[in-house]
Structures are given as structure tokens and as C-alpha cells.
Symmetry: C2
Subunit: 196 residues, 2 copies
DNA sequence: GTCTATACGAAGATAGAC
DNA sequence: GTCTATCTTCGTATAGAC
């Protein structure tokens, strides 16, 4: 657990960074952009982020990871893995549609640039791990074996993140839609038969 | 079909850009880096790429896409979709291992940065499409229906690209390995039973 | 917590000689 | 095809006042 002095300004900067990262990536986004987008005062950058841009990247990955994490947890309250999958896909479809395919996942943006620094990359890995844990938990609760649940959860996260990239590149929702459909079939096949 | 005046210098620059993009991304890689890495003469940048960095990005996505495409075609000569999948996974594992998890897919690097320009993003989308076409073709030849083959091919490309990102972020080959394993099971289940 | 000012290198891009 | 020189903007980061 990281202890962070939370302020409105810092929080707004992190949120803006997430929105900018998912379109322009880490290197493509400067403090200049973050300041403008968040309306934060210019002089407060290194007050809130003494570690500079690398610290901002780590905080952004952590925050964005938490947002998605809570979304997954909410969709999984009924214990239905298929509902979790559908909610996950729907959330990303909304990101693609509302941005005209310009935006993707901010965690991916951090993960694919080693320059963001080891802490930021680790925060991205931690976020992906938490998502997988939540999804695997729903699968286990639905009767899937532990090891298989883990592998399936990894497949779900990887396939959807990849589908987002494919959909952005082709400016077409088909990859995300088809991957969602195939994943749904895969999960159904792995779940114990329910004759009720 | 694009007509390009191919020269050694231009070719070396494109190759270097691909190697740099997969670690640092598009925005994180400057012409400076490309010149240094390729040993190309400084004054020849805008001779070979009148369109500037955006043209370099498009050429890089196209070239890297072709390299992987030929690799897929080679692995598919025997008509075995499982062999194609394994070759695909093995190729990316080598990239991750040999770079200590610093390198990923250069096409993804271009696809996730809108700043690279529409032509470059389209080139990335075209590359992904070609890979899917080849994989879908192998599946159809093995007896899978047209629509299902297409969806499965999309799943394979998306899941593996996503797994590369997850493996980079966690500095662990497990995501790529587990996704490869699950995809293999999925393909086997989709192929017509073979009792020979 | 926020300000201005500033350092200093690097970015992409262009011009014109050779 | 390649060179050097140069333009302009932007990048991160720091110093020190308020």
C-alpha cells in the first residue's frame, strides 16, 4: 500500500495524464499538455511529483488500474463471469467509440515504453495482475479449477487489450466484438454445465 | 502496392526504427536515435523521408508487418494451424527474452499513438489484417468454417499481442506462455476431429 | 502551494552548398 | 545523395521569490 498525499491538484493531474496517455502515449505527452488539460498551476508540477515524469507515469498507471479494477469488481458482484466479460468489453468499446478510435488503454501506453521507468512499468504490471485476480476469482467461484481459472483470466485480459489495439489500428469495432464473442464461448465451455 | 525507391540507407533506417520503436515507442524515438543506430548519414533523412517522421513510421509499420507476415507464411507451409500458433508465440518469446522484456511489437507502438499519423496507423492496421488473413486461411484449409476461422484468427493475433504487453509489464513469460496454451486448446477444439 | 524565470538539450524541419 | 548550418518549438528540470 502506497501512502500518497492526495490533493485536488495532484488528482486532477493524474486523471488528465491518463486521458492524454491513452491517445498520445507516455513520451508523446508532456507536462505542458497535462498542465493545460488539468488546469493545474504550472509551478506545482515538481511539488506534487518530485520524481518528475516517471513518478507521474507510475501514479497514472496505479490510478487508472484502480478505476478499471473497481469496474470489474462491480460487474462481478452477481458471481457471473460472463457478465464480467461483457462489462469489460462494453467499457472499452465506449472508450473507442467516444474517441473515434483515438484512445486506448493508458496502462498499455505506460507498459510499452521502457522509458517510463521501472516503477511505472511495475505499476502497470500490478494493475494487470489485479484485473486477472478478480476475473480468476469469479471463475473459481463459478466452479472452474484454480490453475485453469488463472490462465483463462490472463487470456481474457490479454485478448481484450490486444483487441483494443487492433480496433484502433483498423478503426473498426470488429476485432473487439469478435474477440469478446470468442472469449464468451471459451468461458462457457470451461464453466461446469448448469441444467437449472 | 506502394512504389518505393529502395536504397540501402533507407532500408537500414527503417530497420533501426523498428528496433527502436519496439522499446521506446514512436514519440520516444527521435531521428537522432535512428541516425545513430543505423549509421545513416544525417543529411539524408528528408531525402529518404520527405514526409518526415510520419512517413518513417508508416514505412516501419509496413516493413515490420511484412517480416512477421513471411514468418507466419513459412510456419504455415505444412497446413497445420497449431504449428503456426507455436511459431508465432516462439518468435515473440525470443523478442522478450533477448531484450530482457524491454522490447515488444513495433506495430503496436505505432498503433497506440495517434500522433504517428493516419497513414502509419493504417499501415499498422493493414499488417494486423494480413496476419489474420494468413492464420484464418490455415484454419479454413484445416476444415474450420469461414466466419469462425476469421474470428479465431483475430483472437489469436489480439491475445498474443496483448500477452506481449502483459509479459513486458510483469517481466514474466507466464502471460505469453499461458495465453499460448489456452489458444492452442481453443484451436484444437475448433478443428474437425482427426482420428488418423 | 504556487509563482516566474531560466537553464540546456533535443525535437522536427528547412535551406542551400557540394 | 549527403553535407552543414540554422530556425523554432518543445522537452524536463531547477532556483528562488512570494
Amino acid at each position: 500500500m502506497m501512502i500518497v498525499i492526495a490533493t485536488d491538484t495532484r488528482q486532477r493531474m493524474v486523471r488528465s495524464a491518463a486521458l492524454l496517455f491513452r491517445e498520445q502515449g507516455y513520451s508523446g505527452t508532456g507536462f505542458r499538455d497535462v498542465i493545460e488539460h488539468s488546469g493545474a498551476p504550472r509551478g506545482s508540477i515538481y511539488h506534487h511529483f518530485p520524481g518528475g515524469k516517471a513518478e507521474l507515469a507510475a501514479a497514472t498507471a496505479e490510478w487508472a488500474g484502480g478505476v478499471v479494477e473497481r469496474q470489474i469488481a462491480r460487474a462481478g458482484r452477481d458471481g457471473d463471469p460472463i457478465a464480467v466479460l461483457r462489462g469489460f468489453v462494453a467499457g472499452w468499446r465506449e472508450v473507442l467509440e467516444s474517441s473515434d478510435f483515438r484512445a486506448g488503454c493508458p496502462i498499455v501506453a505506460v507498459a510499452v515504453e521502457s522509458e517510463a521507468g521501472p516503477e511505472a512499468v511495475a505499476a502497470a504490471g500490478h494493475a494487470f495482475g489485479r484485473w486477472q485476480d478478480l476475473i480468476a476469482g469469479t471463475l473459481r467461484d463459478a466452479g472452474v479449477g484454480r490453475a485453469e481459472a488463472r490462465r483463462l483470466a490472463t487470456l481474457v485480459v490479454a485478448a481484450i487489450e490486444g483487441a483494443i489495439v487492433l480496433s484502433r489500428a483498423t478503426r473498426d469495432l470488429r476485432p473487439l466484438r469478435d474477440v469478446g464473442r470468442e472469449l464468451e464461448a471459451t468461458l462457457r465451455a470451461a464453466l461446469p454445465a448448469d441444467d437449472s
